[in-house]
């Protein structure tokens, strides 16, 4: 078994830094896909790394590091969303043109990216699955491990989420 725990503390720290270096950009992208805000995304990544460092001894196998840290990240994103609930409700109450302005200025992304924008219409479960599937390119098995859901449930949620997205994208095209 490829144990992450070693007796040398410095080696552990170095290993942890290397592992974080290899996945930091993807962690930020997942957080941003969820939160659509740079500061909140950085907060979520920071909290994730803090928790991961504190609990690294609980991880027995380095092979599962990515799955493990993404699981922590998703929970951190949900906490940030929960804490900022009022702010998001206010954002949703703005007019459609205001929303487009926010997307242009805050996210600096083209409004033509339909899938990226459409996932905001999904609920948390569907959003997690779509992000992990299409951003992280994870398999159904990996998604079920990250989200603690049976594989069958993941398949059903994925199909439903794609159904919702299809409707959103079709509406966007009209």
């Amino acid at each position: 078994m490829d144990k992450i725990i070693t007796t040398d503390k410095n080696l552990n720290d170095e290993l942890f830094s290397d592992l974080i270096d290899s996945c930091k950009e993807n962690l930020y992208k997942i957080a941003f896909s969820y939160l659509k805000n740079e500061q909140n995304s950085l907060d979520a990544v920071s909290e994730t790394i803090y928790k991961a460092y504190k609990n690294i001894n609980k991880l027995k196998n380095r092979e599962f590091f990515n799955t493990w840290i993404i699981k922590i990240l998703i929970n951190s994103c949900k906490t940030v969303l929960k804490n900022n609930k009022v702010i998001y409700i206010e954002e949703y109450n703005t007019t459609k043109s205001d929303n487009l302005d926010i997307l242009e200025t805050d996210f600096k992304l083209s409004i033509k990216i339909d899938l990226y924008n459409a996932i905001d219409k999904l609920n948390d479960k569907f959003k997690s699955i779509i992000i992990l599937k299409y951003l992280e390119d994870m398999s159904i098995i990996q998604i079920s491990e990250v989200l603690n859901l049976p594989e069958g449930t993941v398949k059903v949620y994925l199909r439903r989420a794609l159904g919702v997205l299809k409707i959103e994208l079709d509406e966007g095209c009209v």
Partner: protein, 54 residues
């Protein structure tokens, strides 16, 4: 982490301060860990002293 970014996700810009945020988070965790160890050792020391006094 090998990914095949697409569908617009690849255009999410990585902020310059990401590395700094990560560094600070690790430092914060290290400090917290150190503090926990000191607290644990102090508790053990106090407990052993109490036992000796008894």
């Amino acid at each position: 982490m090998i990914t095949k970014n697409q569908y617009g996700f690849e255009q999410i810009k990585i902020p310059d301060k990401l590395d700094e945020v990560i560094k600070k988070a690790i430092e914060r965790a290290k400090k917290e860990k150190k503090r926990r160890i000191i607290k644990l050792n102090s508790t053990k020391l106090i407990e052993s002293n109490i036992l000796v006094l008894k």
